[in-house]
């Protein structure tokens, strides 16, 4: 059975300025042990999607529809207690900023132990300490015996992210959701954390959903990529195809704007023109059409009709352009 199956997820936040349509019609499957990246810029809906999986979208007026089937059970229709039993045990989460993600008032050992104790009510204090010590050692914290009784502020950013990872893995989750796990870290530390996540995944066999804005991070550790724009999935493909044969003009634009280390000095960059749309006043039709270099070539279709995800080559793309043009996006000049 598919481990996680998201069907037609819609998330809307009501605000005084109007409805923010953060996620629209997102569907995807996660198989056991695989690594999937959700890539997008700010406002693309990637974090809202991730938070929805554990029902972590809070606010006065949040409307969610669709299905989030975890091994066949719909997270969205569960009772509060049922969701709680899923959180941290079946699906665990790593947040972006390790400096604020740990509770500053308790020792890291206590916090790791707590993550275990929540889902194992019978565990004794001694067991919990043992588990905390083991976890710290596994994620590469030196001198765990001394460190286990220290408070979060006594650790560096990279170390804290290791602790957050240790905490997330303490119950052997089936799915690990990592929301921008390295964005707040230095480059050299980022490399360590990515390596740790890959290593931990190999050990625990968890599936990983990596939320990121950084295509570089995607290339490092994932197998499958979903690109989101303005609340929709615009492309879904294997990591190789995403980079070699992108089948959506937005993905192409992203790749072109990424400053690869190999491009020469003072070479002209090719940015995507304009700015991402407001989620309150989305453009009609395809949300990307006002910034898309190809929209004019299809007459008015892009501004009137929203494209559905369809199979293009071995990828899936939400674009009206004919297949052969989508497959040749990287070759021909815009």
């Amino acid at each position: 059975m598919t481990l996680l199956s998201v069907r037609d997820l819609n998330v809307t936040f009501g605000t005084p300025e109007g409805d923010v349509r953060a996620v629209q019609g997102v569907s995807f499957d996660i198989e056991p042990g695989e690594t999937v990246a959700i890539v997008g810029e700010s406002g693309s809906g990637k974090s809202v999607t991730a938070n929805s999986l554990l029902r972590l979208n809070f606010g006065a007026d949040v409307r969610i529809s669709g299905e989030i089937l975890l091994e066949g059970r719909d997270v969205l229709t569960m009772t509060e207690d049922e969701v709680r039993s899923v959180r941290g045990s079946d699906m665990a989460m790593i947040f972006q900023d390790p400096l604020t993600a740990l509770n500053p008032f308790y020792t890291v050992g206590r916090q790791i132990g707590e993550a275990y104790a929540i889902h194992h009510p019978g565990a004794t204090k001694k067991e919990l300490r043992e588990i905390a010590l083991n976890s710290l050692e596994k994620v590469g914290i030196p001198e765990p015996l001394k460190r286990v009784d220290q408070y979060p502020h006594e650790f560096s950013g990279g170390m804290r992210q290791r602790i957050v990872i240790a905490m997330a893995l303490v119950n052997n989750p089936k799915i690990l959701i990592a929301d921008e796990p390295t964005t707040a870290l230095d480059v050299t530390v980022q490399a360590q954390i990515l390596e740790l996540i890959a290593e931990m995944q190999a050990q625990h066999g968890s599936a990983v959903i990596l939320i990121t804005h950084d295509l570089g991070v995607v290339a490092e550790i994932t197998e499958r990529v979903m690109v989101m724009y303005a609340g929709r999935v615009v492309e879904s493909a294997s990591v190789e195809n995403t980079f070699a044969v992108p089948t959506h003009p937005y993905t192409r634009g992203l790749l072109k704007s990424v400053k690869s280390l190999d491009t020469a000095r003072h070479e002209r960059l090719e940015p995507i023109p304009g700015t991402p749309p407001s989620l309150i006043k989305l453009p009609s039709g395809c949300p990307f059409h006002p910034r898309c270099a190809f929209a004019d070539s299809l007459g008015g279709r892009c501004s009137s009709e929203a494209p559905e995800l369809r199979i293009v080559g071995s990828s899936r793309s939400a674009c009206h352009l004919p297949d052969e043009r989508l497959l040749g996006l990287m070759g021909g000049a815009s």
Binding site: M93, A101, N103, F105
Partner: protein, 320 residues
């Protein structure tokens, strides 16, 4: 160490300010129609003829060693710690303070307990039921509470509970050791008056503190871990939100110990506040100097206690 230096500075400053007042303390010792010789004699007996620095020195010495005013035969001795001699009341200031302090302490302690309970309780309720009627009620309460002057609320309470309904007797302070029930009955109204007014601020502080902490990343991680809501609220949210409140409360409490001027006057409670007020009216400088210093001592002590407490409550500021 630092606190002691601070107290020295405060005491010197207070001393200097009151000596710089235009009124002549010696002239105040014997009423309006006084012969100049008596004034001069009194000036000498009380030590006001000496230079200011010497007066201050004698005062400080008195605190530790006690002090005798005047020559033998017509002398008054105030044992250590002597805070001066009130020429208006003809009593040692220390004994005056010693008799009023328990009253003020009783008022402050009860009011503090009440206002923390009401303020934190209502504030928490408001935060947890944000936007619902409980929240509106609590926020409304805090707006009303903040805008009521103490004397108005005090007089209203007396009207309602004493004069109209007669539920309570008119407050007459009785020591707790003499009769605990009378003590309680006399203080219940002043407690509520002070508590309601302070609680209003604490409702708002607690509510905002909790709402702020609820948006913290570590609370979201707590939820993502699967923490049950009650435990999350108590061990994550309240814990973090109360740290700053406890520290402010400590200072407020100390401030109250310095004397609740208005409340004590309205309810006719013989506390530090009333003593101070009377001293102001009668230009009784020794008492004013002493009560100011007592209040300063409480604030300094409270500051030190709060510092220690803060370190205990928040591991981030613990001394390594």
């Amino acid at each position: 160490m630092f606190a002691v230096v601070l107290l020295l500075i405060v005491s010197a400053f207070t001393f200097w300010i009151f000596s710089a007042l235009p009124s002549d303390p010696a002239a105040l010792t014997c009423g309006k129609n006084c012969r100049p010789e008596v004034i001069e004699a009194n000036r000498e007996r009380l030590g006001y003829d000496k230079p200011l620095v010497e007066q201050y020195g004698a005062y400080m010495k008195g605190i530790f060693a006690g002090r005798t005013y005047g020559e033998e035969g017509a002398s008054v001795h105030c044992p250590a710690p002597s805070l001066g001699y009130s020429y208006d009341r003809h009593e040692c200031v220390t004994s005056l303070i010693a008799s009023t302090l328990p009253v003020t302490a009783s008022i402050a302690l009860g009011a503090f307990v009440l206002w923390m309970a009401i303020g934190v309780g209502l504030g928490t309720l408001a935060a947890l039921k944000r936007g619902r009627w409980q929240d509106r009620l609590a926020t409304g309460f805090s707006v009303v509470g903040v805008s009521f002057p103490t004397f108005f609320l005090g007089l209203m309470f007396i009207m309602i509970f004493v004069i109209w309904t007669g539920i309570l007797p008119f407050p007459r302070y009785t020591g707790i050791t003499e009769n605990p029930v009378d003590w309680f009955m006399a203080l219940i109204l002043p407690w509520f008056v002070l508590a309601l007014i302070s609680a209003a601020t604490y409702v708002r502080m607690t509510r905002n503190g909790i709402l702020e902490v609820m948006n913290e990343e570590f609370v979201r991680l707590g939820i993502a871990k699967g923490l049950p809501r009650k435990r999350l609220i108590v061990t994550y949210v309240m814990r973090a939100a109360l740290v700053p409140i406890v520290t402010i409360a400590g200072l407020d409490f100390a401030f109250l110990l310095g004397g609740a001027l208005v409340t004590e006057s309205i309810f006719n409670l013989p506390g530090l506040g009333k003593l101070t007020l009377a001293a102001v009216v009668n230009s009784d400088l020794p008492i004013l100097v002493a009560t100011t210093m007592v209040a300063a001592v409480f604030i300094v002590i409270a500051n030190a206690v709060v510092d220690v407490l803060y370190g205990y409550l928040d591991p981030r500021v613990r001394v390594k």
